[in-house]
């Protein structure tokens, strides 16, 4: 194995690990102002929405807002079951089954 490869992995570890660990180490030791806590409480909802939209609306690099987009179609029953059941595993399984069924008709 090339020494360069190990060096590259070490660099990748460093730049990945520092942003992951630093806020955790600092913010658990200090008193966070209330306004920041309120801001942080919005982070999960905001990040999930930001991760989700490109994942289902962009197909092969292009925005696809029509019924040829399998993931967009499958997202509809997935959202409904997610809202009513609030069960991660069940929703994921239903999502996969939806994609399979939609693919049969495509």
């Amino acid at each position: 194995m090339a020494e360069n490869y190990l060096l590259m992995l070490a660099g990748m570890l460093l730049v990945t690990y520092i942003p992951r660990v630093l806020p955790l180490l600092i913010l658990t030791r200090i008193e966070i102002p209330e306004i920041i806590i309120r801001w942080l409480r919005f982070i999960p909802v905001a990040i999930l929405a930001a991760l989700l939209t490109p994942g289902i609306l962009i197909v092969e690099g292009k925005l696809m807002l029509n019924y040829h987009n399998v993931f967009l179609l499958a997202a509809v029953p997935t959202f409904i079951v997610g809202i009513y059941k609030k069960n991660i595993f069940l929703t994921v399984i239903l999502g996969i089954v939806s994609v399979m069924i939609i693919n049969l008709f495509m």
Partner: protein, 230 residues
């Protein structure tokens, strides 16, 4: 009622993540082997870096002959979004042993963060819960990439289109589980739309960072405005 062991409770909620890692791990392993890495080198990256999208991008860059510095810089840009997740999780780990924090930080990914935020409130020992969740996801990622590397050495290509929907489906249910009031829906819509817009304007995963910061800030401003008005 008997208290469930928080570590194993974490392992249990990681199952959908493991399912989602199968297609990504395989895609990564296949690509890595095709770009000239050995199976050992492929898995080693998963063990050391543990970051799906950054690993996929870096093996693509290796395949086209990119140098070490651009690959490391791209990894930094793509993974900087974890800073927001780490800050958000710090709210839960105030009572967690300080010696555990360096390990918990390593285990922060989009998926572990999302599952954790949705279910951690139920558990007293939040550190152990996230440790179980994170370690299980980490092992799952390593095994999936090993599987992908092995497949890459025997098969020409392999694709599992339905399994590619696992992570989007998981993000959908976790998103609806996080939503408690109308303002959350509004913040989600702002963030989702901004992310979509920025994906075309910015490299790496900066669309996620920028969209999250904008949407969360708008959320705080509106919350404050609602409080002073009513």
């Amino acid at each position: 009622m008997e208290e469930e062991n928080p570590f194993f409770a974490g392992v249990k909620v990681s199952i959908p993540i493991l399912l989602g890692y199968i297609p990504i791990g395989i895609a990564y392993g296949l690509l890595a082997v095709k770009s000239g890495l050995s199976s050992f080198e492929t898995v080693l990256m998963s063990v050391i870096v543990f970051a799906g999208s950054a690993q996929l991008i870096s093996v693509n860059m290796i395949a086209v002959g990119a140098g070490m510095i651009p690959i490391i810089m791209m990894t930094f840009l793509v993974n900087l979004r974890h800073i927001l997740m780490s800050a958000s999780l710090s709210l839960y780990f105030k009572k967690t042993s300080k010696s555990l924090l360096p390990i918990l930080g390593f285990l922060i990914t989009d998926e572990s963060f999302a599952v954790c935020s949705a279910s951690i409130d139920k558990y007293e020992d939040k550190g152990m819960f996230f440790l179980g969740l994170g370690v299980s996801a980490y092992l799952g990622w390593i095994i999936s990439s090993l599987f992908g590397a092995i497949l890459g050495n025997i098969l020409p290509v392999s694709n599992l289109p339905a399994l590619d929907f696992v992570l989007p489906a998981m993000f959908i249910v976790l998103l609806v589980m996080q939503i408690q009031r109308r303002l959350d829906v509004f913040v989600a819509i702002i963030s989702g739309l901004s992310s979509l817009l920025f994906v075309y304007l910015l490299p790496g995963k900066w669309n996620i960072i920028l969209a999250t910061i904008i949407a969360a800030t708008i959320g705080v401003v509106i919350e404050k405005w609602l409080k002073t008005t009513y």
